[in-house]
């Protein structure tokens, strides 16, 4: 038996080498282009011409300050930040309330509501985009952050509700019941007991929603056409089209846009992956 074990384990240990080889190739495929981008963000325009892929010879940090100014990042970062903050707060508050009602309050008609949310979340944006655009124009919500935030809340809420509900259902009822006996209202129970107990769920949903809003392209393009309202994404699209020949400049702008994403992703990667895969599985 001992021999057999050693044989099997030894065999497995040996056979992992090809795994690493192929995984490293895939790693180069995934990370290589990003490394090239980072290298190119530090090259001069002339250097990129004859050295488009390798390490930079000198470090041209001025690409960054130039990209920051030309890309108008001081405005667009704030704009994107406002959209992310407004949407995350709205989704967590309103979605959390709905999830609480579904998980804890025996909402009459809960099944119908879940079905409605499921249907609403699987309707293609392109179906209702034009009437929504016209409606927003009539309501004076075009080119306004709160107008777009409302749309983002509507589109992100169903997923948030499903995730938060499945989180809250698992919470023990003891605390709430005790609070109810003491005469606490449902709002107090929600705000003081359920939210603090399900904070990991809120954190996960908040991160996933924040990422999707930060990266969102189509709606930001359609609903914020005023240049002073551009997000980092829509502004980058303009910028990269205008300066498509200046690869060092576009690379520097790209790096500035994705460094915050990658840092936050690396810190919270477990939550991101959990939220995105579970969100997918539930949707």
């Amino acid at each position: 038996m001992g021999d057999l074990n050693r044989l099997v384990r030894g065999g497995r240990g040996m056979s992992l080498a090809p795994n690493y080889v192929i995984l490293i190739l895939l790693l180069i495929f995934s990370i290589g282009p990003l490394a090239i981008m980072a290298f190119n963000s530090l090259k001069s325009r002339t250097e990129i011409g004859d050295n488009p892929l390798g390490l930079p010879r000198g470090l041209v940090w001025s690409n960054y300050s130039r990209a920051w100014d030309v890309g108008n990042f001081s405005t667009t970062m704030v704009n994107s930040g406002l959209l992310v903050a407004g949407t995350v707060i709205g989704v967590l508050l309103l979605g959390g309330m709905a999830a609480y009602s579904l998980a804890k309050l025996d909402l009459p008609g809960a099944g119908a509501l879940m079905l409605f949310l499921l249907v609403v979340s699987s309707l293609p944006i392109h179906l209702f985009l034009v009437p929504l655009f016209v409606l927003w124009r009539e309501l004076g919500l075009l080119n306004s952050f709160h107008g777009l935030i409302l749309i983002y809340i509507a589109l992100n809420a169903p997923l948030a509700i499903f995730l938060l509900r499945s989180y809250m259902v698992q919470l023990p009822r003891d605390f709430e019941d005790a609070a109810r006996v003491d005469g606490a209202g449902e709002w107090q129970i929600f705000a003081k007991i359920v939210v603090p107990l399900s904070w990991p769920g809120f954190l996960t949903v908040g991160l996933v929603v924040a990422l999707s809003v930060w990266n969102e392209f189509l709606l930001a393009t359609v609903f914020l056409q005023d240049e002073s309202k551009f997000t980092v994404v829509t502004s980058y699209q303009n910028f990269a089209t205008r300066f498509s020949r200046d690869w060092s400049l576009t690379s520097a702008a790209s790096v500035m846009m994705i460094v915050p994403i990658i840092v936050i992703f690396l810190i919270f990667q477990r939550r991101f992956i959990e939220g995105m895969t579970q969100g997918g599985m539930k949707g």
Binding site: L26, S101, L266
Partner: protein, 311 residues
């Protein structure tokens, strides 16, 4: 304090007010918690969707009055509009590409990664990173990398590698697979993580049993891994099928459907008709058709599940 005030009132009244209190607490309060999000969803999604159903049967330009034209838009769409057929075909090609390439890559990477302990987290995270990047960055990065004068393709071209002197995004024959390649670079890591999560739920005894039976790697993969992650696979097929009819970002950012419509898909047609040709009614009809495809995919899924498939 209250008691002293209502002492003289008939008992019935007290009971009724307590009853309405219970009613309020049990039936009204739960809906108050749901109401804000429901109202926003009705305003943003349901209302405009119903409007789209109506406008798809009008000649509406997007501004001003709309005139009822019945099913004319649909007739034109299905029988007269070559660009619709062309776009729909591209959606089907997109579906075929995304059901195969990323699935294969995801399965290979996940099954190579599953038995690894050293560096597993590092690989999982790194391969997932492209998925968290914004589509504009990914699209513009790859547009440069595959430019015949620059990037990787330019580098290969300079060294005389054949077939690298092509503007992949500028030719009708290569543009669609090229955009799919770019989108896939961003997408496949997500599938890999999904598959990996599924594989980690497979009981290790099954692998040991297979190994004792003398199964080789391929047989292990075929007879243990694939059946073990079947729910994930089915879910992936469903999601890919839905999303292939809706794809927009990468195509719009790289080519806007060009050259000469060679990368047009349905969502691009909606966008062009609505915001460039001012044919909002016609755009709504295309949007309706897209939704019907999505609805059909979901119905197949639901029917299969009703029939007892474990999906």
């Amino acid at each position: 304090m209250r008691d002293t005030v209502i002492q003289g009132l008939p008992v019935v009244n007290v009971r009724r007010s307590r009853l309405t209190g219970v009613f309020y607490r049990r039936k009204v309060v739960p809906w108050l918690f749901v109401l804000p999000v429901l109202a926003i969803n009705l305003l943003v999604v349901l209302g405009p969707t119903l409007a789209a159903v109506y406008y798809s049967m009008t000649d509406w330009s997007g501004i001003g009055a709309a005139e009822w034209v019945g099913l004319d838009n649909y007739r034109q769409l299905f029988f007269d509009d070559a660009s619709f057929k062309n776009a729909f075909l591209h959606n089907l090609m997109w579906l075929a590409m995304f059901l195969t390439v990323p699935t294969a890559m995801g399965l290979i990477a996940a099954s190579l990664l599953a038995p690894i302990t050293r560096g597993a987290l590092f690989f999982r995270m790194s391969l997932f990173i492209p998925y968290v990047l914004p589509s504009v960055i990914v699209a513009h990065l790859w547009t440069s990398l595959i430019h015949p004068d620059r990037g990787i393709v330019g580098w290969l071209n300079d060294r005389g590698v054949p077939g690298m002197d092509i503007a992949f995004l500028g030719r009708e024959s290569t543009v669609l697979p090229t955009i799919a390649f770019i989108d896939n670079w961003h997408w496949w890591g997500f599938l890999m993580v999904l598959f990996l999560a599924g594989m980690q739920n497979i009981p290790p005894d099954l692998y040991e049993a297979a190994r004792l039976d003398g199964a080789n790697r391929w047989q292990e993969f075929k007879d243990v891994t694939i059946p073990g992650i079947r729910p994930v696979l089915v879910f992936m097929v469903l999601m890919t099928s839905i999303w292939s009819f809706l794809t927009f970002d990468f195509i719009w950012i790289t080519t806007q459907g060009g050259p000469a419509g060679a990368s047009e898909v349905l969502s691009i047609l909606v966008f062009k008709n609505a915001f460039q040709n001012f044919e909002a009614g016609y755009a709504a009809a295309i949007g309706m058709t897209m939704s019907v495809f999505v609805g059909a995919v979901i119905s197949v899924f639901v029917v299969l599940r009703r029939r007892g498939w474990e999906i």
